[in-house]
């Protein structure tokens, strides 16, 4: 079966002092090929942990992750990652960064260069091949990170707050880019974000995680990502449906945050 399935995944961290933290409990999720899923939740609810398990950086204490009928046992090129920041290689120029994956596969040099050229055009950084990455702005660096991930042609793209470090305007532009890439490449995307607005806008499906233990609290199926591919994102954000969904989810998150704070105060 094509697609990504997360089956009854639980994750418990054993701390040095003998306590343990249940970061995830019995999380199950079926993702079809080509879907874009956003994950929301209060801080510390296990979003990064979930993503790291799917990426193969962490082995779950229970359950398993299956991608295209293969059990995930470790990191692999069929699952690309985009991090919040600082994951580019400063000692390489833009071209070498983007060409990193193809190079690992042993692709010939001129094919690599062609691919880089094409992808940089796609992410809006044409002719930036020879720039050093530390010369680029934060937004440009994330574009390079996206291009680097795409160059490897993964089945699934995993993003952990990819736009989290960007200013509001750049962020809006980058949201458009994510939708465009999703539509054009047809990749399966799992995107974690702190921004409710972003999650509602980009998620075909939106998961709200609840903390302690981390679990799926609610799931929404939303039309805005699809709309976004054919209309201006700013107009989408003005739709009544959009604002209502956003406010509803916002209040759920608020409630959870307040509950956490309350618990802290009681302690």
């Amino acid at each position: 079966m094509k697609g990504l399935s997360i089956e009854n995944v639980s994750m418990r961290f054993d701390l040095h002092n003998g306590n343990s933290i249940q970061a995830l409990k019995d999380v199950s999720l079926e993702i079809e090929e080509g879907q874009i899923i956003t994950v929301l939740g209060p801080s510390g609810c296990g979003k990064t942990t979930l993503l790291n398990i799917v990426a193969g950086f962490l082995a779950p204490t229970e359950g398993r992750v299956v991608l295209n009928d293969q059990i995930v046992l470790g990191p692999g090129p069929e699952r690309g990652m985009v991090f919040q920041q600082g994951a580019l290689f400063e000692w390489m120029n833009v071209r070498s960064n983007v060409a990193f994956g193809p190079r690992m596969k042993g692709m010939p040099k001129d094919e690599q260069n062609e691919k880089v050229k094409h992808l940089l055009e796609v992410v809006g950084l044409a002719d930036f091949e020879d720039k050093a990455v530390y010369e680029l702005s934060g937004g440009m660096q994330q574009r390079v990170a996206l291009a680097r991930c795409l160059a490897n042609d993964p089945d699934v793209i995993l993003m952990d707050e990819p736009l989290g470090a960007l200013d509001a305007l750049t962020r809006e532009k980058m949201q458009g880019l994510v939708i465009k890439l999703w539509k054009e490449t047809g990749k399966t995307i799992l995107l974690i974000t702190h921004s409710v607005e972003e999650a509602v806008l980009l998620g075909e499906r939106l998961l709200v995680l609840a903390p302690r233990p981390g679990r799926i609290h609610k799931e929404y199926t939303l039309p805005f990502a699809e709309m976004g591919s054919s209309m201006d994102l700013r107009d989408v954000k003005k739709l009544k449906d959009y604002t209502e969904t956003r406010d509803e989810i916002l209040s759920i998150i608020w409630e959870m945050e307040e509950e956490i704070m309350g618990r802290v105060e009681e302690n």
Partner: protein
Amino acid sequence: MTILIIYILIFIAAFYAVKVVSSMRTSRKDYTSLKTVTFGDESAVSPNRAASIISVFSIFLIWAAFTGSKLIPFHVPGPFIGELGFSYTAMNSLGETDDAEVTITIYDVQTGEIPDKLDIEPGTGFAINDTYQIVAWRSALVKVKRNDVGGKDSDYKVIAINDQEISPNNELFIDDARIYMTAKGTLSVTPSKGWQMQPVWLPAPETVWSRLIKVSSEGYKNFSLFEHLGWSLLRVVVGFTAGALIGIPLGYAMGLSGWFRGWFDPIVEFMRPVPPLALIPLVIIWFGIGEQGKIILLFLASLWIMTISARAGVSGVKIAKIHAAYSLGASKWQIMRLVIVPNSLPEIFTGARVSMGVCWGTVVAAELVAAQKGAGMMIINASKFQMTDLVIMGIVLIGVIGYAIDILMRISENYLVPWKGK
């Protein structure tokens, strides 16, 4: 002490002078000059070029002024040179008194000329006139009684100088000299020394310069200047390279494997705080004073620094970079080569800079202890013969080379790891 006060005065004076001058010029309106908060804002503090130039210049100026250098027209007062005269009053065993003149020629040995003895009249009475010669900066016993009639009598004594009374264990001052009477009644004359330094303490800049010219053409102790410095440098380069060749892989191993870290941590942590100089005696006992011992010493000096910096370089790699590389299909070896090694280069460069500095200091110290050639040997040998000019020349050259090494390292750092600190 005086010199320090003068230096501080120049510091303050130059500060106000430069301030006045630069306020007269129309000031440039750059970003920093528009900042209102500069105190505490490190980025607003850039070295004042004028201050640097004046600083170096005034050190030379003070040096020249206090050594009577010919390079500048004004000096602090030097030692008294020329003829000094005073009269003394002696009393003989019969209680009679008589006066006589003493003429002292004070001359500078540096000029190489010893003045002729003065021809003087013996004078009248039982006290006979005397003449003496004293080298500048020295003092001398002036035995005025020796030629006097009855001067050998035990109760023949000098009772006054220039009509001022004097008694044993007391001193008095005349123009340009201090006169002290010893317990036995002999006069000790110290001509005024002025403020200038004696050449054996601090030679004038031009003396040091001419020594440099001389040594670079004639060499010193069987080796040319170039060989002395070259050998020191060669030892540093060989010792440092050996330390880096072992230390960097060891550091990587410690950063990547728990077994290596566990095994070497106690050794590295123990050896790190031991100053390399403290190893000199042991190295001499084990390996002798030849090249082998020195290179092993320098190897040890750089080994720990390079190990620690390579280990820090590996530990400093952001986990996101490693994760990203794995997700892009890199193998362990590729991650090592393409991520871990380049990521650790800035740390390694910092380590190399520190290590080169330490090695340079250590080699000079080791050569001070025992060597046939080298910068350290040159200056310790010169100091044994009181060739202060050569000692100062050596120190300046050692400083210049150390500085040059650091600049070279910095340039290659900017060239090889341009992403450092970005």
